[in-house]
């Protein structure tokens, strides 16, 4: 047997080994997702008789109706979007403004301010929970969506200021100077040059982040009718105890928007997680 054919064979074995290992890992990771998808489409009786792990012997979309209507997921999803979308827009706009000021102008104490803002975002939320819930009572917004919007913006903005500051530092000053010579004021520079930098990466990241939050929601909200989808899912767990078909359907509904955002912005999303590294 010639040396080359041994080499080819060895390479093939290595490739097969790779796919075997990586494939097994992928299956292990996808199995729970497959399980919840299948469970969400089975009837209660089927699960009760044959168990959760059995091959499905029924097909129904009624679970989704139950979660959506009886479980209040429709309202919860609307609440989530009402909170998440303004949060993403306002947080990124505010962060871009601050980052613009800090990276482009000789603001006094600029480095300290930048790190102060980042530091606020790194704090463990626990230290803020009690005062924030009392503060929202004081401001008369406890148990309303604006309270959740406010705290999400306040807590999130520091991180994006830091990241965008990194982006903006990388833009050559000459561009800004050219714009100045052309008579553009700070506002125009911000609008035309800086704001477009607030990339989809950050939007996708912050959407997922805010949409998936539970802790802030249960800190400033109490009524079931105000809860976003994460809080509603916990309510569903209590309302439909052991009705795994409905709980699974609820989980699918809760995960669908972030999965959709992820699939739409996949590249940006992964880039978002690696901001510094891919800059």
């Amino acid at each position: 047997m010639s040396a080359t054919s041994t080499a080819v064979r060895r390479k093939r074995a290595a490739t097969a080994g790779f796919h075997l290992g990586a494939g097994a890992l992928a299956v292990l990771w996808l199995l729970p997702i497959a399980l919840v998808l299948v469970t969400s489409l089975r009837s209660f009786d089927d699960i009760a008789v044959h168990g959760l792990g059995s091959w499905p012997r029924s097909f129904t979309l009624d679970n989704f109706r139950q979660a959506w209507v009886d479980g209040g997921q429709q309202r919860a999803l609307i609440n989530s979007l009402v909170v998440t979308i303004p949060c993403v827009l306002v947080t990124l706009a505010l962060a871009a403004m601050a980052a613009f000021a800090l990276s482009r102008y000789e603001v006094p104490f600029r480095r300290s301010l930048l790190l102060l803002m980042l530091g606020g975002n790194l704090l463990p939320p626990q230290i803020l929970l009690i005062p924030v819930s009392k503060l929202s009572e004081l401001m008369g917004v406890y148990d309303t969506l604006p309270a959740l919007i406010g705290v999400q913006i306040g807590f999130g903005v520091g991180f994006y200021v830091f990241v965008l500051h990194g982006f903006m530092r990388a833009i050559p000053v000459e561009i800004q100077q050219a714009a100045l010579i052309d008579g553009a004021g700070p506002w125009q520079i911000f609008r035309r040059i800086i704001l477009p930098l607030t990339r989809p990466a950050l939007a996708a990241l912050s959407f997922t982040w805010i949409f998936n939050d539970l802790l802030w929601a249960i800190t400033v909200l109490r009524s079931d009718s105000k809860m976003p989808i994460t809080g509603a899912l916990i309510g569903l767990q209590g309302q439909f105890v052991s009705m795994w078909n409905v709980i699974a359907a609820g989980s699918v509904i809760a995960a669908a928007p972030t999965v959709a955002v992820f699939l739409r912005f996949q590249r940006h999303f992964v880039a978002g997680l690696n901001l510094g590294a891919v800059k």
């Binding site: 000021a101 463990p124 520091g158 700070p186």
Partner: protein, 311 residues
């Protein structure tokens, strides 16, 4: 999920000269100051001011209705004799070691396995990464179905002849904590993998070539090229997992609420139930201060590094 940025690698180009000329205009227009002050105000109202209050409240007894009563370090003295606090602290350390350590190891392992661009690798990466976009609540509910007494895990054990291991995984004090860690890991590994993949991509292939020429085997290349080159990413991963571990709340809350009998209690869940269910707001604040102190080292060292790079 905490997201931190990976520090910039030192670029081959020399850094631009420091000094006034490389920066923008010297005078700060009022509009620009407003640009800075509005976000700062938002953060001050919702973060800085509450944080200061949090530290003060830790020194008080407060039921949330009458005025807080100042008790000095009384809450911290109480902790010393609080059995539940001790359990929660031990569990938090266990969580840090198991959740943090395993997610770093598995994430690095997955990144090493999937670093090469080849057929199918995109699918495998996407599979490992997919849970990252799920909320921890949804993740928890998926795994709750798996862990049920008549759930998938027990059925699986039965099928492979290990029926004697059947178990109410979440209801047993000995297994609850570990049963909660697994879903958290399932979701975290893909995230750590993405961080390491980016780090591995940044390593100059010439280094591996040089090591190969010098006769280094795969293990030596990993030990002497890959690991040292990943130092920056390692530091970020370390910060992420410590901050995430101390913040972990959603998954425990959704699965066990810290029970049974506090066996899966973390400091974060104990703090929440003390504050918002037992309405002991002063003691809850003191517990939050403990969490803050534990996180402080990581936060400070991360900020110091950020400070060096910020200019």
């Amino acid at each position: 999920m905490a997201v931190l940025t990976v520090p910039e690698r030192t670029s081959p180009a020399p850094p631009p000269p420091r000094g006034r000329r490389t920066r923008g205009p010297r005078r700060t227009p009022p509009l620009v100051l407003a640009f800075l002050l509005v976000p700062l105000l938002a953060e001050a109202v919702w973060v800085f001011w509450p944080a200061l209050q949090g530290f003060y409240l830790a020194l008080t007894n407060w039921d949330g209705v009458s005025a807080p009563e100042f008790v000095g370090l009384g809450n911290f003295r109480e902790m010393a004799h609080d059995q539940v606090f001790r359990t929660a602290a031990v569990d938090t350390v266990l969580w840090l070691v198991l959740f943090g350590g395993l997610s770093a190891l598995l994430g690095l392992g997955a990144a090493l396995l999937l670093q090469q661009e080849r057929r199918g690798v995109g699918f495998y990466r996407a599979a490992l990464f997919r849970p990252v976009v799920f909320s921890l609540v949804a993740t928890a509910l998926v795994w709750q179905a798996i862990y049920q007494p008549d759930g998938v895990l027990n059925q699986l054990l039965e099928t492979v002849g290990l029926g004697s291991l059947r178990h109410a995984w979440l209801a047993d004090q000995d297994t609850a904590l570990y049963a909660v860690i697994v879903p958290a890991l399932w979701r975290q590994v893909g995230y750590v993998m993405v961080l390491y993949l980016a780090g591995l991509k940044g390593i100059d292939p010439a280094l591996y070539e040089a090591a190969k020429v010098d006769g280094a085997g795969p293990w030596q290349r990993f030990r002497h090229v890959t690991l040292p080159q990943l130092r920056g990413v390692n530091a970020v991963v370390l910060s992420v997992i410590i901050i995430d571990s101390l913040r972990s709340f959603d998954v425990v809350w959704s699965l066990t609420r810290g029970g049974p009998y506090h066996s899966s209690e973390l400091l974060s869940t104990y703090m929440y139930s003390t504050a918002f269910q037992s309405l002991r707001l002063g003691y809850g604040s003191a517990l939050a201060v403990v969490i803050f102190v534990l996180a402080f080292g990581v936060i400070a060292s991360y900020l110091v590094r950020a400070f060096r790079e910020a200019d």
